[in-house]
Symmetry: C2
Subunit: 205 residues, 2 copies
DNA sequence: CCGAAACGGACGAAGCTCGTCCGATTCAGA
DNA sequence: TCTGAATCGGACGAGCTTCGTCCGTTTCGG
């Protein structure tokens, strides 16, 4: 009774190729990639892209979903670290790297969050919970300053985003680590300057 | 012998209006503003825009030039502060605010820096010198960690850029201050974690 | 070996942008 | 007030990019 029994092997492979090409394209050029560029990069025709995904947006959704899954895995792995601070800082590093490697990720996720699909909503919730856990655990040990929230953590991780992508900046392939390191030092307890203003809210990661 | 004796009063006013509208437009929507949008926002026709500036790019150049002048003034004012650390941190705050208020400023300046006009090159040099002075002075007092460069400072200031503009983030109108505060705490001497990787280079601000 | 599934890429339609052009309007000096 | 030169407005043309379709051709796999 399976109406769509199983796609042909080449169809499945092309689907994977398209997702990989999309990640690569977003990484280097941001969200402003045309469907044609993606398909060409995948070594396929644009027709194939639309046959596989129906819509350019559907393709982006699939990519974001994969990224969220990876981030969830990372967050859970960081929770198993014996040292709470190391767990948190490793996650921040990984999240920053994800943003560096997926230029405009924040925009994509935000755009997707506007009308989240059930799958995406579930991933978002899981990820937020994981980050909350990491933050709480680090604060409980007294190493994370008390006045930051998990949203601050997320936003800080985004800070690496521009470091790599702004023209005119040559920070080297690992240059973003410097900024994140500075941020992490700033996040350590007890903190020197009190954080002013309302705590930020964020729905996306 | 003045071939262009003096523009009519309305022409001058319209020129000012266009620059103001451009800053406003860049602030809220980034560089992807059309000439029509700018002119409409200024309450003018697009024809006027092109008569005043000849080119959209020339208009952007004029805007960037003004911004650089303001930043130079700010930097010099910060140098007169008795406390070196306060001078530096105030400048970082102001630079961050400039980036927040001029979405895509980094891209504009970088784009302009590709083929800088003499005026722009002069401003860039002056600004870099001012930032260097601020950094050196703060390091000399022992309050700024020794392993950061003035380029790190610039990049950190840019970090606030996304905080405000990413959809899905509601950090409040002053939310970026939290991130900069964290960064500044991270920049304080002596620093906890050594900065790895090569020092970044940047030509733009 | 053959029919169904999948592919490629030319193509149409739509949208957006820059910059021009010229008739209508406004300024400012006499 | 009057007048002509400067300025304005916005419709318009040309060009570019993009999405998504369509159909003849190729490939898979039972």
């Amino acid at each position: 009774m399976n109406a769509t029994p199983s796609p042909r092997a080449d169809a499945r492979q092309n689907r994977r190729r398209l997702i990989a090409a999309t990640r690569e394209a977003i990484s280097s050029r941001g969200l402003d990639v045309s469907a044609l560029d993606i398909a060409t990069a995948a070594g396929l025709g644009v027709g194939t892209l639309y046959r596989r995904f129906g819509t350019k947006e559907a393709l982006l959704d699939a990519v974001v979903l994969g990224l969220y899954d990876e981030l969830c895995d990372t967050a859970r792995a960081c929770m198993t670290r014996a040292d709470a601070w190391e767990g948190l800082s490793e996650f921040v590093m990984e999240l920053a790297k994800a943003h560096r490697d997926n230029r405009g990720l924040a925009s994509v996720t935000a755009a997707c969050d506007q009308q989240p699909s059930p799958e995406l909503a579930q991933r978002t919730a899981a990820l937020q919970e994981a980050v909350t856990d990491l933050t709480e655990r680090a604060r409980a040990t007294g190493l994370l300053r008390a006045d930051v929230t998990w949203q601050d953590i997320i936003i800080c991780s985004r800070a690496a985003l521009d470091t790599q992508h702004c023209l005119g900046v040559d920070a080297g392939p690992e240059g973003w680590r410097r900024i994140i390191t500075i941020l992490l030092d700033g996040l350590r307890a007890p903190g020197h300057t009190a954080l002013a203003g309302p705590q930020p809210r964020t729905t996306g990661i």
